[in-house]
């Protein structure tokens, strides 16, 4: 008998799509997707800035705490100067610093979270290694379908009192899977691919307002570096110059020279030595030059005084070709600090 039952399901095509989506979501165990990070681009030393992060967060088969980690300069003491709370349809609460003894689940019990994050992501878009991942964990564990969680942070910047340009970065994860590698089960919506964790990098944050004058520039490939970054008048201080960074007229020079002046705590100005030989920067490798000085001797600073800053440029033997900050002729400032 011919069936008279012809039921045409309205919008059957749409229902099929929906079924596929539901199927995909059901297959999803846990995922985090950082939708946005709202963060200022400038700040002053000691200021408390608000940062708002929106995360698409899913824990369907497991109960897990949410983890938010922030990449910060070590001197900013993030554990003390960063606070976090969250709001979401499934609950509100706070984050606290993850204990240093808690191991990151995907590391096989080998590393705690800060170490695992540094091994996996390093210092992301920064050039100075003096950074750490500060890890926070939510007060409650959840089992939840895909939910938008708003994380509200308050960060007091530059606890070490110095100016800085730094590219902050964030990782969101959960305590069940940690930094587990993608298993391909998660829907991708280009350009985002989200899985058990996500890394999000922000543009350079400029922190100014320190009296010391020097800027710890994490963001830019260093044309020159001074090692150690924290040193005083009676340390050995090494100045490095990489002529391959930024277009400059010293590239290919056999010898270059440090041309520096220094200022002490009383405002007295000292010049570097007259003898060029004492300022010669020899090539340590192709187009990379270096000189190490003992500032007290180099600038002839009396014992009663200590230096506050050094201003320097790199020159050729004639002194006519000058390379300074960002390859301009402006001097680079190094502050003698020890914090």
């Amino acid at each position: 008998m011919k069936s008279n039952l012809h039921i045409k399901i309205k919008g059957s095509f749409l229902w099929k799509i929906c079924a596929v989506i539901v199927l995909v979501v059901v297959l999803t165990c846990c995922s985090t997707d950082i939708l946005s990070v709202d963060q200022p681009t400038t700040a002053t030393v000691g200021q408390t800035i608000p940062i708002t992060m929106k995360v698409l967060y899913t824990n369907t088969n497991v109960t897990a705490n949410m983890v938010v980690a922030v990449l910060l300069p070590v001197g900013w003491n993030g554990a003390k100067n960063l606070t976090m709370t969250y709001t979401s349809p499934i609950g509100n609460g706070t984050f606290s610093v993850m204990p240093g003894t808690t191991t990151e689940p995907a590391s096989g019990g080998l590393y705690n979270w800060p170490t695992a994050l540094m091994k996996k992501f390093g210092i992301v878009n920064n050039y100075i290694k003096d950074m750490e991942w500060v890890v926070f964990v939510s007060d409650k564990a959840y089992t939840n379908p895909t939910t938008t969680v708003t994380v509200n942070m308050k960060l007091t910047v530059a606890a070490d009192g110095g100016n800085a340009n730094v590219a902050l970065a964030y990782v969101v994860a959960e305590t069940n899977d940690g930094l587990k590698a993608n298993d391909g089960n998660i829907e991708t919506s280009p350009p985002d691919t989200y899985e058990f964790y996500e890394l999000y990098s922000t543009p350079c944050l400029d922190v100014s307002g320190s009296a010391s004058g020097s800027i710890e520039d994490f963001c830019d490939a260093p044309l020159t570096t001074v090692d150690p970054f924290k040193a005083l008048t009676d340390d050995f201080v090494t100045v490095n110059f990489d002529a391959t960074i930024l277009k400059n007229n010293l590239l290919g020079a056999a010898n270059v020279y440090l041309k520096a002046t220094a200022v002490d705590e009383a405002g007295n100005i000292y010049n570097g030595p007259v003898t060029p030989a004492k300022s010669l920067m020899t090539q340590v490798s192709s187009n990379k030059y270096q000189v190490t000085i003992w500032p007290r001797s180099y600038f002839n600073v009396p014992k009663a005084h200590t230096l506050s800053i050094m201003k320097y440029v790199i020159t050729d033997v004639t002194g006519n070709t000058v390379v300074g900050a960002n390859a301009t002729t402006e001097p680079i400032i190094y502050g003698f600090t020890c914090k």
């Binding site: 150690p228 924290k230 040193a231 009676d234 050995f236 090494t238 020890c338």
Partner: protein, 147 residues
Amino acid sequence: MKFTKFFIPCILLIVMVWASCKVERVNPVNESVKDISGTWKVIKATRNGTDITAYNGVDFSQFNIVFKSGTYTLNNRLPFLADTSGTYTLNDPQYPMQITFTPTGEPVIKTDFVYPIVTGVRNIDLTFSANPGCNSNIYIYTLQKVN
């Protein structure tokens, strides 16, 4: 009697053998007092773990420390744990583990006294932060006696 003829010489033999064993007293060898008198120069310097001895601009050829009768003298000064001459003591003359420097008019500075023999020669390894320098920078100078 046969027994006596045999027994008495036997006893005598035993007594003679026994008496010939000397108890040897082993006298404890006295550990020598460590004498660091003399002029010492830096043969190796590290800063925060990096060897800076041969860095361009670093010249240890003129710098030396003279230890004599409880005093030390710095000649041709370079960054060091003391910025002026003064007195020094070792915590134990035979088994020194720590050296204390007292620069004239300044607080004392203590550091581990590491005194290894390297290729037959005594070195002194001193770990310190420069005085006055930033205490987050750690230097190790290896000293060797020149005369």
